[in-house]
Structures are given as C-alpha cells and as structure tokens.
Symmetry: D2
Subunit: 266 residues, 4 copies
C-alpha cells in the first residue's frame, strides 16, 4: 500500500480494442473485415492461434468441435440443468456450472492425449515412415506399461471395439491434407499396442480430436479450452431443452427420494 498513486504499466493485447468510431479485433476492422466474412469457428481458432486458419484447417477444427459439443446427459449437462432449476435467474451461472465439470476426468482425454503425443514428439525429428512410427509407438507403450500408467486416448468405456468418431475424423483430416505427426503417432499406437498390452483397444475419438488439434498447431496446454468451447454450445442446447422439457426436478427428486441416512460409526 502506498500513499502515492502508482501508474500502471501498459496492458498490451493483440485481440480487441475500440475507439469511438472503430472496433478492431486481431488487427482487423471487426465490421469491415470480420462480420459476415469470417465464420465463428474460424474466429475462435484465430483468437487463440493469432493467425487465420485455412479453409481446410477450419473444416477439421469445426469437425472436432462438433464431435465434442454434446454427449447427452453427462455430468456437465446434469450440473447445468440442476443449477438452472435452482437458479433460473442466471443463465450464465447454469452454463458456468456445466463448464466447471470440464476437467480432468470427463473432458480430459482430448487434452491428455494431445499433450502426451506432443511430449513424445518433443525429443527430436519425427519418424519418416510407418516402421519408424511403429517403433516410436512401441517404445511409448512399453514405457507406459513399465510405469504402470495408461496411454491417454487408448480405450473407451462404451465403444469397446471402435469409437465411431475415430475413422471419420482420420479420413477427414487426410482429405484435408492435415495429417500430422500427432495423429500419425496416435495411429501407430493403435497398431502396435496389442503386442504389448495383450488386448486390442480402440482409439478414443476424443483423443483423435486432441491429436488433430495439436496437428493444427494449436497450443496443447489449451486443448481443454476447445473442448469447453464445444461443450458451451452443447450446454446451451441442454439449457434450451431444460426450458422446454425440464428434467432437473426429476433428477433432484430421484436422488432425494432415494437418500438413505448412514450412521458414520457403523
């Protein structure tokens, strides 16, 4: 604390600024250059990466967001809907409550997988042929087994044989010529792990999303953010549905009516 007022430093930004006559965003004129000319998905990518994505990159990026937007009555959807029941005065509270579930367990695969692959590639030059990828993959799977850890993105609790999103997203990425090292490595893990683990696991579609986003050059420490952006759209849909055909009260009374007191001493 000081009696003298201390002037703040400058607050630099490469995002949005405005004057009385103009609104600028990302070094562009919002109204002349962006509105109606740049899509929302494009802008979301641009706001993080500080470069405008190509049409191919946009297609892959938006396919990932579409894949991650809504997974039915997930914990995030439940939290959003019971919060909206309890506090209909604040749509932003219900949305925020839902997004707060976007953490390590139920929304973590995309980011964990992307970061895992990214770290594995950090060492040096990426392999140049399928054998090279398979060798690197084998190393990683063996390391994980030795450490007693799981490879993020390998396996799925429901889609035990194949996650339907996986082949579709891989095809799309290839169509757009954007198959990069993260996705190559992930597919290699898919090919070789059975030798080591003794069973065949599917590549989790959300993990493929992480690999694809990393291959687009998006910062891996922010991959969770894209899952959250996607989920924001899904949660708006859940909240719209809660207005139309509420289930919040039914969830609440289902839990409440089946509550049983347990003496902690017993």
């Amino acid at each position: 604390m000081s009696d003298e007022q201390v002037a703040p430093p400058a607050f630099p930004t490469s995002l949005g600024t405005s004057t009385a006559d103009e609104i600028r965003l990302l070094g562009q004129d919002l109204t002349a250059d962006l509105m109606g000319k740049v899509g929302f998905g494009e802008l979301a990518f641009w706001l993080v990466a500080l470069r405008r994505p190509t049409p191919s990159e946009t297609r892959v990026f938006e396919a990932v967001l579409v894949a991650l937007a809504d997974h039915g009555f997930t914990p995030t959807a439940i939290a959003a809907r019971v919060t909206y029941l309890s506090a209909p005065d604040s749509l932003q509270g219900a949305l925020a409550a839902g997004l707060l579930g976007g953490g390590s367990r139920f929304l973590g695969v995309t980011e964990d997988c992307g970061m895992f692959l990214h770290q594995a590639l950090a060492g040096g030059e990426p392999p140049t042929d399928e054998t090279g990828w398979d060798d690197l993959a084998l190393e990683l799977v063996e390391q994980s087994r030795a450490n007693g850890t799981f490879i993020p993105g390998l396996g799925h609790p429901v889609h035990k044989v194949q996650d339907p999103r996986t082949p579709v997203l891989i095809d799309l990425v290839r169509e757009e010529g954007l198959e990069g090292p993260h996705l190559k490595l992930f597919q290699a893990i898919g090919r070789v792990h059975e030798q080591v683990l003794g069973r065949k696991l599917p590549l989790n579609g959300a993990g493929v999303c992480g690999a694809a986003l990393a291959d687009l050059g998006l910062p891996v420490e922010l991959l969770r953010g894209f899952a959250l952006l996607a989920r924001a759209a899904g949660l708006l849909g859940q909240l719209a549905e809660e207005r139309r055909r509420p289930i919040g009260m039914d969830i609440y009374s289902t839990v409440d009516r089946n509550a049983v007191y347990v003496d902690p001493e017993s």
Copy 2:
C-alpha cells in the same frame, strides 16, 4: 426419504444419445451426418432451435457471434485472466469466471433489446409499412419516457454517433433476406426517438444482434446464451494471450499498490 427404492421417470432428450456402436445427436448420426458436414455455428443453432439453420441463417448467426466474441479488456476478460493467474490449475475455472460476468450489465443489451422488441410485437399483427412501424416505435418511445425507463439498445457509452456494427449487420441481414419484425421495429425506434427524447442516439450493435437473433426465431429467453457462447471464444483468446503475455499480475499489483485504507467511521 424412503426405504423403498423409487424408480426414476424417464429422462427424455432430443439431443445426444449413444450406444456401443453409434453416437447420435439431434436425431442424426454424429459421425456420418454431422462431423465435417455441419459447421460449429450451424450445430450451435441447431442444438437450441432443434432445426438446422439455412446457409443464410447460419451466416447471420455467425456474424452475430463474431460481433460479440471479444471486446478487449472487459470485466469478463479481466475476471478470466486474474482467475487464471491465481488458479492456473483450472482452465475451466478461468473460463467460467469470465463467463459469470455475462450478466445484466455488460452483456445484457443483446437479450434486453431482443426481449423488449419481442414483447412489443407480442400484441398482434406487425405493421405492414414504414409508417406503421414508425407509429408503433413512437408509442414505445413515449411509453418508456413516461415510465422513466430506457429503451434497451438505444445508445452506446462509447460510440456516441454510430455503432460501427449496426449498419454492417443490418446490411448483412438484408442481403440474406432475413430482415424481420424485430429488426424493423428497432430501426423504426432509431428513426423516431429523437422527436420524443430530444437527442439522437445510435442503435447499439449488440442490440441489433439481439433483434437479428430474435428474427432468426431463436428463443428470446436464451439470447444471453448466444452472447455467452460468443464470449467463450473470446475468453479462450484472452486466456491464450494470458499465457503468452500475462497481464493478470499487473492488474493485481496495480489495484493492490493503489489500495488505501479508509476508516468506515470517517
């Protein structure tokens, strides 16, 4: 509480469901029908409205989201960034903290304006010519003045003459043939209010966004949700920037160093 387990009712949804082999969303097969075929903005619209928007509707919808995504160092951006400084362990917490500022004061214009126009139109048949619209608008402006209330969306704290987003969005909406009663009424208010209020105010671009969303048939009680979705993208950009060139600590120390204790008795 009951000793007998009470079976829950069914939990109906028109959004996402899945089985071991298939993921469905909005009655579609996510992987075959949506990924790579439907854009993220399209999907967001569809998730709320339960119908797929036309390309024209998508263009207007995404232009609105782009217009609302980032407005620089707003309270929402500040909250997100200082939260991320303080709790870098939780990106979802920082995003949620930012979105929690999306309430009545700083993000309310879109929804307030849309709802105001919607209520004004609720009475009966919409006017059929400009004079009709002007008459209805005049009535509303006079009512507001009599009530001592403001018309939401009329005026802007910074863009005192014209909000640059306004003419661009109106042109875009007309280009796409989607100018509807909410926007017509809002423009009429823009034409006539000077007679009543004695000064000429600009139509707030965020208000035009609300009118445009309402004309797309989106539920007016959820307009805030679209501003929040847009802002989620903007906040991801702010958080990416906080990682690259942080300002959170500077904001904190600017406030902290200029803190002055005040005795409440004085």
Copy 3:
C-alpha cells in the same frame, strides 16, 4: 485506448491491507486482535456490516448459518458432486458449481422474505402493538392476493404444518433480545393470513432466517450471500462425503441409463 499511461484512482477499502510486517483487517491487527479472539461467524458478520457483532447477535447469526448450511441432496449438492466427479482436479470448481445453484428458486426464500419485509417496513414508523402489526400484516396479505403474488416465506413444500426451524429460531431471537420489526411483521403475517387466504400456512424457516438477519441490521440486498456462505460449509461436507462414499457416478448413470430419445417433430 491511449498512448499515455493513465494513472488509476485510489482503490479505497475498509477491509484488508498489509505491509511487510503487519496484516490489518477491518482496522484491526489481524494477528494481535483477531486470530483466536474473534470467531469465524463474528468475522463474517463484521466483514459485511463493518461493525463487530455482540455475543447475542453472533449467536443468532450463527444459528441462521447452521440452519441454512445443508439440506441434503439439493440441486446445489448434486451439482457440486457431479462436477467433482467430472473434474476432481478442481475442488474450487466443484464448490463454485454448487454455489451457482444458490439463486432465486432454491435458496431465494431467505432473501426474498427479508427484502419483502424490509420494503413493507420502509414506509414509516413501525407499529407499536400486536394489533398494529396484525393490521399491517393484513394489508400486505390482501395486497398480495389482489396482485396475484405470493408472500415470500409463507408456506413450505415439505413442512406443510410447521417448519421445525421456525419456533426454535424465534425463541432464540427472543432469548437474545433481538426480536425486531422484520420478525414481528413476519409473525403477524403468520397470524392473520388464514383470514384472507382461506388456509393456514407455516412460516418457512428460511424466511424466518431472512427476517432475523434483517433485524440484525445486515443489508437485505446481501441476504443471499449469507445463505451462500452457510451453503459453502454444507457443500464442503458434501464434497468430503463424495470422496468417502461417492454418488456422483450413480447419479450420472441413473440419468444416462434412463435417457430416452424423443423426436422433436412428434
């Protein structure tokens, strides 16, 4: 935006400040005057009201917090627990998600009742005898019925005859000599409403809490805050229980397994 750095104004506070050697809070030395000498409930009161409560006030205040802390598997508890399931990486996220349900519907009675009574008393001098209170109460009940509105705090969804908290809190307030106009008016409403409404409703204990807090001179616009503080303790208990004997996954799978797709066209 400006090229010249603009010095900030001072940021005044009557709460916490610190130097290298000293930590001050509310004009006191935190370590010499507060720690071990002032209770947590006392401090919470003091932080809002800017005055230290008397022992009697503290007893009533803490009884209110105890009354509001946990109500079992409420929407707030459900939201907190499923969020913790989904994002165990962030305890603050789970707590925040739970508190976000502390809004108008499920935690609103305390504040709505307190504000209603406060507004009713705002007019002029409070009545001086029971007849005077009954007359004022009758007026309010009749007004409400004429407006088609409910009196906040009158009635309870479960405790149809008597809310067990009500007589206990009223007795406690009287014991401590702190029965003030808000509680007097609320009790009068309890006495007279049957004449007007044709049925006898209990005074909601959470409403009595609101009246008691208002009688302690706490700002009525912040009554929700005290319910939230109380609930924060309850939610910590719920989260501790979620760690010991989780139900989050069971809630999630109960909802998910009973999901039924509904075609919106039907």
Copy 4:
C-alpha cells in the same frame, strides 16, 4: 440408453435428511440439537470430519479461517468485484467467480504445505524429540534442493523476515494443546533449512494454517476447501464493499484505458 426404466441405487448420506416434521443433520435434530447450540465453525468442521470438534479444536479451526478470510485486493477479490459490476443480477455468480481463483497459485500454500508435511510423515513413526524432528526436516530440505523443488510454505513474497501470523498461530495451537506432528515438522524445517539453502526464510502463515488443520485430523486433500470457506466470508465482505464504494468500474477502466494494441508479427 434403455427402454426399461432402471431403478437407481440408494444414495447414502451421513449429512442432511428431512421428513415432513423433522430436519436431521449429522445424525442430530437440526432444530433441537444444533441451532443456537453449535457454532457455524464447529458445524463446518463437523460436516467434513463427521465428528464434533472440541472447544480447543474449534478455537484453532476458527483462528485459521479468520487468518485466511481476506487478504485485500487479491485476484479473487478483483474477480468477484468486476463480475459483480458486470452481472449485478447474480450475487452467487460474483461469489463463485471469486472462489474460482482459489487454486494452486494464490490459495495453494495451505493445502500444498499440509499435504507435503502429511506425505513426509506417512512413512512411519514420528520423531520423539527435537533432534529427531530436525533430522527429518534436514532430510526433506536436502531432498527438495536435490530435486530442484521448493518446500511449500517456506518463504513469503511480502513478509520476508517473519509472517506475523506464524508465531501467533503456533502459540494459539500450543495454548490449546493441539501441536501435532505436522506443525512440529514444519517448525523443524524452519529451524534447519538455513544450513542447506544458505538463507533464512520465514514460515508462511498460510502454511502454518495447513499444518494446524492437518494436525486437527482434517483430510489433507480438502485443505483447499477450508481456505475457500474462509475466503467466501472475505468475498462477501468485498461484495458488500463493492455495493458501498465500488471499484469495479475503476479497475475496468484502468485496464481498458491503458490497453495498447500489439501486432503479433512484431
């Protein structure tokens, strides 16, 4: 998804339940046994630990909460206040936004220190005299230095010589006869670290809080929760102050006016 309704499991709880006539909490009758008889701090402890604290434990516990409640214009206070500025419609949103900053960086010391000490003690029997404690402490400090990690709770960014909270809390804990292994170990670290690190650092008061809470037998994975509970009270005070003498707008305009656009290419 299934066409047959699946009955939920029971939802067990040792916290709150209620019937039409009775409200029970922690196996007690809320109104007969708790309200007016148990303090709020006591109840908060009880809700997590599932046992009622002794008066001595309550005194230490509440002293910790008082120590952690408010630290002036922290990032949490800033986030709460600018959120309240932006969304005055939701007090719970402003409080939640503030609490979301209660994460690893600015509120992490209490929990990190408690967990660090707890893990160090996990091995076997605690030492029985000061020499024993010093030896264990020396081992830990040397390990940390070898790993290149810091000991949580050792050092303070502002109180470079002594954190004023530290001696006061230690005295209080001893007065109440509650000095346990965590605090003994932490003090030993305070005695010996200079030999290893080459400089003398103060024991952070928030770290002492963590040690004290761990010695009370509270679960170390929830220590952050107690800091959050304490901070909830502090934030209510900040929000009350924001209503009385707002600074949110000044924070916002300070940042906004000192914003400078930076071309990312440069």
